[in-house]
């Protein structure tokens, strides 16, 4: 018992060389660390402060007027713009991210097979990454270049409307009408999947084939588990991309609020909006992380369970030892005070 304890307490002191190494590490990271303070922590704290104030900028000075939670009540209660935008954003992200990821995976699987002109197709599917930017997209959408005229969105919506609630059906219609844009967002994801697929060990597939596994089984039992981390990576990349893309209405709303000349809006109002927005984005990321994050595999879990068991047993052991010591003490004192009469062989008790 005591051996275990000792081993835990003993922490090896870092040597001189290691210390120097660590110092060099800090040196290399130093610019970024300064940046964290200057461009992350400080602005974060500042904007947290701003959101409780109404900030008015006059040519002479910047006036801070304590507002309390008034900014929030204004955003939520007085105009429906922001809450509605938020709901649309969440809905859109939750629907579109899986579509983009699955679509990217399908294309990557198709390109991964024996295919002539693979280079050409890769070139083609990667092209949007170069072009895609807010204003260009807006321009293309506004000129109707983003929808295929041959696709009858109305018919699709009504077809889905038969067995889906209205809201879901209309969002499905929206997806189809913005199909090209959705596909355009999946350039990087396709390449990430493709390069992950090419690194799956072919011996695994061969082994599965010898054991009589079909292509379908191979996909679910080999391909998917191997590239699962990439699924998560792509999902998060997509969320972040969509949340900072200029087509997103919310971020434009924040910018407009920041520079609107009205009395009640301004930096404070915009900060409150930005905070709520980023909390929502983070929550969406966390949601996808929980859904797709790697669960510990069986072996890992077994090891953990075993460790826990050991700990429990050790605790029990300790308890027993403590008890027995206490009991021994009690017994000893009892004996001293002649509490227990033992049979001394004299014949009577």
């Amino acid at each position: 018992m005591s051996d275990l304890k000792k081993e835990k307490k003993r922490v090896r002191k870092p040597g001189k060389l290691e210390k120097r190494e660590a110092r060099m590490g800090y040196l290399f990271v130093a610019p970024w660390l300064i940046g964290v303070v200057a461009f992350l922590l400080y602005p974060l704290g500042q904007s947290f402060r701003y959101m409780w104030y109404n900030i008015r900028i006059t040519p002479v000075e910047t006036k801070f007027i304590w507002y309390g939670t008034q900014n929030f009540s204004q955003i939520w209660l007085e105009s429906a713009e922001f809450p509605q935008g938020l709901v649309t954003y969440i809905w859109k992200t939750i629907v579109e991210v899986p579509i983009i990821v699955v679509f990217a995976l399908i294309i990557a699987m198709m390109l991964n097979g024996k295919i002539r002109l693979r280079g050409f197709f890769r070139l083609l599917f990667f092209l949007p990454v170069i072009i895609v930017s807010g204003p260009v997209m807006n321009m293309l959408v506004s000129e109707g270049a983003a929808t295929i005229p041959a696709m009858n969105v109305q018919a699709i919506v009504s077809a889905f409307g038969r067995f889906l609630p209205d809201k879901a059906a209309s969002s499905v219609g929206e997806i189809f009408s913005n199909m090209i844009m959705t596909l355009w967002y999946s350039g990087v994801q396709i390449l990430i999947f493709l390069s992950a697929l090419q690194k799956v060990d072919p011996a695994l597939y061969e082994a599965a084939k010898i054991d009589g596994g079909s292509g379908w089984e191979c996909f679910w039992k080999i391909t998917l588990p191997t590239i699962k981390p990439m699924v998560l990576l792509n999902a998060i990349y997509t969320i972040i991309f969509m949340s900072s893309n200029e087509q997103n209405e919310l971020i434009n709303m924040i910018k407009n609020a920041m520079f609107s000349g009205t009395k009640e809006k301004g930096y404070g109002y915009a900060s409150a909006m930005a905070w709520m927005y980023s909390i929502v984005v983070t929550l969406v990321v966390v949601l996808f992380f929980l859904l797709l994050g790697s669960k510990k595999d069986k072996y890992d879990r077994a090891v953990r369970r075993y460790r826990r068991q050991q700990k429990r047993e050790a605790r029990l052991q300790k308890k027993i030892q403590r008890r027995s010591k206490r009991n021994a003490r009690k017994y000893a004192s009892g004996v001293r005070r002649n509490k227990y009469k033992t049979y001394d062989g004299s014949g009577d008790y």
Binding site: E21, A22, R23, M24, G25, L27, F28, V29, P31, W32, I34, G35, A38, F39, L40, Y42, P43, L44, S47, I107, M110, L111, G113, I115, F121, L124, F125, F126, L127, V129, I130, V132, S133, P135, V136, M139, L140, E143, A145, A146, I148, M179, I180, L183, L191, S195, K199, P229, M230, I236, I251, N252, I254, K255, M258, Y267, S271, A274, V281, T282
Partner: protein, 328 residues
């Protein structure tokens, strides 16, 4: 079924033959375990070509519309192929956007911060990958957190800060964060370098230090040359992302004032309608604003990156393979 189970030997033999041919056909179309069938291949190629067309559709539409003259636009019989190649749209759009001037500014806006981004991200990635120091894990956590956090939340105080420093409306507002490792999408680049340097064998560094190289020398002589694939990836992506960034550029570098010096092509597309109308009212351009001109402007703004993509296609497409995001 009944034919197959019939007792007569002659018919049975016949069915076996027919079954064989059917089987062959099935194999031919659907393939076997060993090789894919023709049907599968047709399906895959068909799907790829269809999706490829959908991908290209906006660009094709843009190019064809931008080459149409007014008559072609009004003529309902002209759908895809314009009657004649009409380049006036491009001339008008270029004039309205001040193409060459804006082009030069775009390059400056993208190239200078990219340079800082690459150098600093490489250093930081190297530090994270090769040294073990206290708080490294927490720092990595902060790094990922700073990627997830939308830039909007830090945007307002940063703007105020820059305003105080007087660098809003100058290129410094992009260079400064890049120098401190907080350029556009810097966390991704740091992670790319981190991944990359972790794969460089430690023996190499140790050999260098035994031969008397200091930490900096090891970094510059061994780590940097071995990281060239990652550097190419980061340069390309950083350049493209800075080029396509309109939101932050218009806020920091352009400074939102009316008569700003800095602008880039993407912002020019955004403000195209307004600037075109003012130019047209002066009588600088031949045509009035129509979709052909707007598409021409869009095409012009895409053009430089498009050409760059065609020239450097191999580097772009293989970039993700080589950056080691997907692990080894």
């Amino acid at each position: 079924m009944s034919a197959g189970t019939s007792t007569k030997p002659t018919t049975a033999a016949g069915t076996i033959k027919s079954v064989l041919t059917k089987d062959k056909l099935r194999r031919f179309v659907f393939g076997t375990r060993e090789r894919t069938g023709v049907g599968q291949q047709i399906l895959v190629y068909g799907l790829l070509i269809c999706i490829g067309f959908v991908y290209l559709y906006p660009i094709l539409y843009m190019i064809s519309t931008s080459l149409m003259s007014m008559e072609d636009l009004l003529d309902t019989s002209v759908k895809w192929i314009p009657g004649s190649v009409y380049l006036q749209n491009y001339r008008d759009a270029a004039k309205s956007m001040e193409f060459w001037k804006t082009f030069g500014k775009s390059i400056a806006i993208s190239a200078v911060p990219t340079l800082c981004n690459v150098v600093i991200c490489m250093m930081v990635g190297y530090g994270f990958a090769k040294y073990d120091f206290k708080g490294r894990k927490i720092m990595m956590g902060i790094l990922i957190f700073s990627y997830i956090l939308p830039s909007q939340v830090t945007m307002i105080p940063t703007y105020v800060l820059y305003n105080k420093m007087g660098i809003v409306g100058t290129l410094w507002s992009f260079i400064l964060p890049a120098v401190f490792g907080h350029g556009l999408n810097a966390p991704i680049f740091i992670l790319i370098f981190y991944q990359f340097f972790r794969q460089v064998p430690k023996v190499l560094m140790e050999a260098a230090s035994i031969d008397g190289a200091g930490h900096l020398k090891t970094f510059f002589r061994i780590a940097v040359p071995s990281a060239i694939p990652a550097i190419i990836t980061v340069v390309l992506f950083s350049f493209v992302w800075y080029w396509n960034e309109a939101y932050l550029t218009s806020l920091y570098v352009q400074g939102l004032s009316g008569d700003a010096f800095w602008t880039n092509l993407v912002i020019a597309v955004k403000d195209f309608d307004m600037s075109f109308n003012t130019k047209a009212s002066v009588g600088d351009t031949a045509t009035s604003l129509n979709e052909s001109v707007r598409m021409a402007a869009t095409a012009l703004s895409i053009m430089p990156l498009f050409v760059m993509y065609l020239v450097l296609q191999r580097h772009f497409v293989e970039s993700i393979d080589r950056s080691g995001i997907t692990g080894e």
